[in-house]
Amino acid sequence: MALMTTAGCWNRREIESIGFVLAAGIDEAPQQGKIQVTVQIAKPFAIGGGEAVRGAADEKPFWTVSSTGYTVFEAVRNLLSQSPRRPFWAHNRFILIGEGLARKGIRDALDLFCRDGESRLRVWMVVVKGAKASDLLQAEFELERMPSEGGMGLLQGARQGLSTIGEGMLNDFLQRLEGEGIDPIATRAEIVPRPQEFDIRGELKRETIGGSARLTGAAVFKDDRLVGWLNKPETRGFNWVMGKVRSGIIVIENPREEGKFIGLEILGARGGFKPEVRNGKVTVAVKIEADANVGYVQGFIDLLRMPEAWSSMERRMATVIENEVLAAVAKAQELGSDIFGFGAELNRRYPKKWADEFRDRWDEEFRKIDVKVEVKAKLRRTGLTVKSSEIR
């Protein structure tokens, strides 16, 4: 009997009455002081696909709709005047932020996504470079019918294959925002216009794809304001320091032949840093160990008979890594944003010194930090050939 009272269908929601939000974008609205929220909602009847539902493929399986309001919350609620189904946020994968809004600060825009019970802290934070988030939400991908799936695919690919994605979930963002001596970072996306060179409408009668998206590094924040960008090599430099590099290609010059290049595939890396204080000056020692395979060789090299070439390639690999790290550090220092958390680490190691000497003037101090990079690069294998084919 008691169970009957616990069944609770008070605010039941039938699945037919909700629309699953796949990605959301936040921008400044054209009207002064207003916020524009754009959501991409799945069209369940168009997903069906396969032979069973012929004709389903004609339609885009998603719908993109915008609305405005003075707060994000109001804008989201205003969607109800256009969407016959109530937006449901639990499956949202992305929060896209337009560059314009990001430069002004996004703490307030994020509040709803932390407070609301449907949205999750695992959503990815993406900043759209040079455009509005609503524009990016029009992007489509050839291999995925659902853009949010496509976006996840890019993200996984760039994270695992290229290591060009920083720590960019909402949870990471909030911690970096609230932590001392560390600043937030998000994923940077750009819109790729796709002028159609030829008609791609074949069996799949979906509309021609007008634009696609690309993930091109990281967005750097100071507090909650966007202050600049890391490009892909710089983002990998950031990831070397954080120990988050999983894979990627390092290109070095062939030590035996000028103007010819060798591609090394990163197998894995460990990285970390240690801040030290000497005479009131902070130095950071970054230590990186990286393993790689020889994946591609231009020109001739016989790695069995040329051990000195092997170690020279390792040295060149170490130099590339070091340069990437230094580029990332230089960019961060130029932007004045401690994305590495040097300050936070200083606080962990020397809490007293941090509180007494550095906390209040960390912004200037960070720009002056001397970063030393020590790289141990190791080459392990050469693929299925040990020497290049010789032309005789």
Binding site: T5, T6, G8, W10, G117, L121, L174, E180, R348, P351
Partner: protein
């Protein structure tokens, strides 16, 4: 003496009841998370609080073992005389009542905040309190057995929630340890202890233990076990949320929302809610039972069962009326309010009873008064 309650529970059942009582309250709102600044030292606070609480539980158990066939309420009457003793009894019953209404409201709030925001909080409270009252009417033995079996379910769920967000854990967040020394941790330690003071209910269960001697060791086990679970929670929460932890209303719930294994094992927060609901029902049943039996003993009512439903209704009413909002509930659970309130009532009554016992054993007059 009239037997108000005839059941018997084992030491393990006692421990299970106490662990559920303690872990439910804390994992739901995790009041220490908001109290500790900087948050990374929560686990130290929790451990310290646990150790301090062992002392308190030992005191309560020793007091009970002075006359192992009497509840703390009957003892109060014996030691303090009829009127003063009954007064202490009523104060204790009132305290258990407030614990119960806090727990009921917490669960109701958890449901409304996190899952069904449009449903009135009363709906959830009625359901749980009704279930708990039915259990309490069936006696301590039933509650004890329920507790023993539910404990494993709850611990399993807790382990799930504590281990599975491993990909989001950054144990770096735990440093620096004790950045500002022990001083700022004193008050939060009080918060941890204040919830352990609910264990004064042990004085009520003790005479119904199959072997009253078990009370000491099993209640200490219970304190240590709940302390460990909570420390584990503290570590996991700091590792996952770091400096953003104090923002959260229900950190453990948010923790379960962070779980995502291979993109398909996710959204398992229902598991957390289930664990909380189960332990809340047990906690409510235990405290409603305590209130009813206590009240029956104070007023010499022969059947405590008839008091359970009215007390349940009062719990509901108080649970609704005492806190006008969720932040009001959160403020109530802070050390400055609930902590001090618990401290005064529980430590106060224990101290008074010890003092009375001390004087009774010294003065020849005291011995004569003993029935």
């Amino acid at each position: 003496m009239r037997e108000v309650e005839g059941g018997k529970v084992s030491g393990r059942q006692l421990a299970a009841l106490l662990v559920l009582t303690r872990t439910m309250a804390v994992t739901m709102t995790f009041p220490t998370a908001a109290a500790v600044k900087p948050p990374q030292d929560i686990w130290i606070v929790t451990l310290l609080g646990t150790l301090v609480s062992v002392l308190f539980v030992l005191l309560v158990a020793r007091l009970g073992l002075r006359s192992p066939d009497k509840t703390i309420i009957e003892q109060a009457e014996l030691l303090l005389g009829k009127y003063l003793g009954k007064l202490v009894g009523i104060v204790l019953v009132w305290y258990w009542m407030s614990v119960a209404c806090g727990a009921a409201r917490e669960l109701g709030e958890a449901y409304t905040v996190a899952i069904m925001p449009e449903t009135p909080v009363l709906v959830f409270m009625v359901a749980t309190v009704f279930l708990a009252a039915n259990a309490a009417r069936n006696g301590l033995e039933v509650v004890g057995r329920m507790g023993e079996s539910i404990l494993w379910v709850v611990l399993f769920f807790a382990a799930l929630v504590l281990v599975l967000p491993y990909d989001q854990m950054r144990f770096k967040n735990l440093a620096p340890v004790l950045a500002r020394g022990f001083r700022p941790l004193m008050l939060p330690t009080g918060t941890v202890v204040s919830f352990f003071l609910e264990f004064i209910i042990l004085g009520m269960i003790l005479p119904y233990l199959a072997r009253p001697r078990d009370a000491t060791c099993y209640s200490v086990y219970a304190v240590l076990a709940s302390g460990l679970v909570m420390t584990w929670f503290a570590v996991a929460l700091v590792a996952v949320f770091g400096p953003a932890l104090p923002d959260l209303v229900m950190p453990a719930f948010s923790l379960s929302r962070m779980i995502s294994i291979a993109n398909f094992f996710e959204r398992i927060e229902a598991v957390t809610m289930a664990a909380w609901t189960l332990s809340c029902v047990i906690k409510l049943a235990l405290f409603l039972w305590g209130c009813a039996v206590g009240l029956a003993q104070v007023f010499g009512v022969s059947r405590y069962q008839s008091l359970v439903y009215p007390l349940g209704a009062m719990t509901l009413a108080l649970g609704i009326l005492s806190f006008e909002s969720n932040p009001a509930l959160q403020r109530f659970l802070r050390f400055e309010v609930f902590g001090v309130y618990s401290l005064i009532i529980t430590v106060g009554t224990t101290a008074v009873l010890y003092l009375a016992a001390f004087f009774r054993s010294r003065l020849p007059l005291g011995r004569g008064l003993r029935r």
